[in-house]
Symmetry: C2
Subunit: 172 residues, 2 copies
Amino acid sequence: MVQRKAKQKTKQKGGAEWSHNHDHRLCIVDALDRAADLCAGRGARLTSIRRRVLELIWSSHRPIGAYSLLEVLKQERANAAPPTIYRALEFLLEQGLIHRIESQNAYIGCPNPDPDQQHKGMFLICTDCGNAVELEETKIDRLLRNSASNQGFVIESRTVEAAGLCPECQVS
Amino acid sequence: MVQRKAKQKTKQKGGAEWSHNHDHRLCIVDALDRAADLCAGRGARLTSIRRRVLELIWSSHRPIGAYSLLEVLKQERANAAPPTIYRALEFLLEQGLIHRIESQNAYIGCPNPDPDQQHKGMFLICTDCGNAVELEETKIDRLLRNSASNQGFVIESRTVEAAGLCPECQVS
DNA sequence: ACACAAATGTTATATTATAACAATTATAAA
DNA sequence: TTTATAATTGTTATAATATAACATTTGTGT
Ligand SMILES: [Zn+2]
Ligand SMILES: [Zn+2]
Ligand SMILES: [Zn+2]
Ligand SMILES: [Zn+2]
């Protein structure tokens, strides 16, 4: 287990992400710590490339594209190429550490990776500032499963992405 | 107004789409008729290319990609090129006659285009047969809007796509 | 040290989508 | 009907996203 002290105390409240001025360094540190723990517990190897890509994804709360990541990574690692990024993304997705935003061909860190099973997030995405936050709405999930079930359909995975204006971007 | 006789009588019940053996010619005819009516009512021009692309999209209940459409269209119209397809898709999306399935970069016909406002569908997509059906769940939509609203977020559009097994593909 | 598997490097290519400008066609005013 | 105008389509090129295939290197356990 990686050294971590009083993680609970540093962890921020849910919804803090809409605040454009929160201390984002904590988001990054927490995400990398959780990732290290999860991978260690699973015997999965969070190599330096993978860790760095995860860190780059967490550089903001905005979904980021594969080639944007590549552009940055290339400055530190001259031989980085598309497969470098896509392999890291594949690993991080498998480990449930990031999610793919289908409507943007982009990737975002999962703020609450599940140790047991990987989940697919539900997102609110601001069309103005670009920030996205993950919902934890089991009710919606249940209702969707029920609707499907009424037609005899069994859901295995789902994509829910809502675009609109976050509270900070509604100048009113 | 295009000639249409007793459309109500030919129209199939909701959910018929999961039946792999329904009379799909009726789906196509209805879709093209409705499209013609809607466009006429709006002064929008359903040109032969646009109409043909819509027909090709309706050739099944499976989402179809732009380049698959192009492949077919090229056989009838030698000078068809990517812009030919993408312009038609853009028009059909604007008119609310088709939807884009984000998780597949593919397009599917809307079985119930709204004369007034265009909506974004919610889909159940079978991973086995590939068929997709559109849900009409206002409850889910309302719940999602409420969840967003609790965070001060205002939804403008949304993507809901659930993958799984349709009743016909659950061999059990 | 050795064998093996996993990860990364490298080159090429596939897939999806748009930009830019020219030519044609539909619409309606003169 | 002619003519002006806007909408649509043709055409060529390129951007953006993603994967295939195979070589090389690195990590892990024996
Ligand atoms: Zn943050
Ligand atoms: Zn915002
Ligand atoms: Zn049908
Ligand atoms: Zn099926």
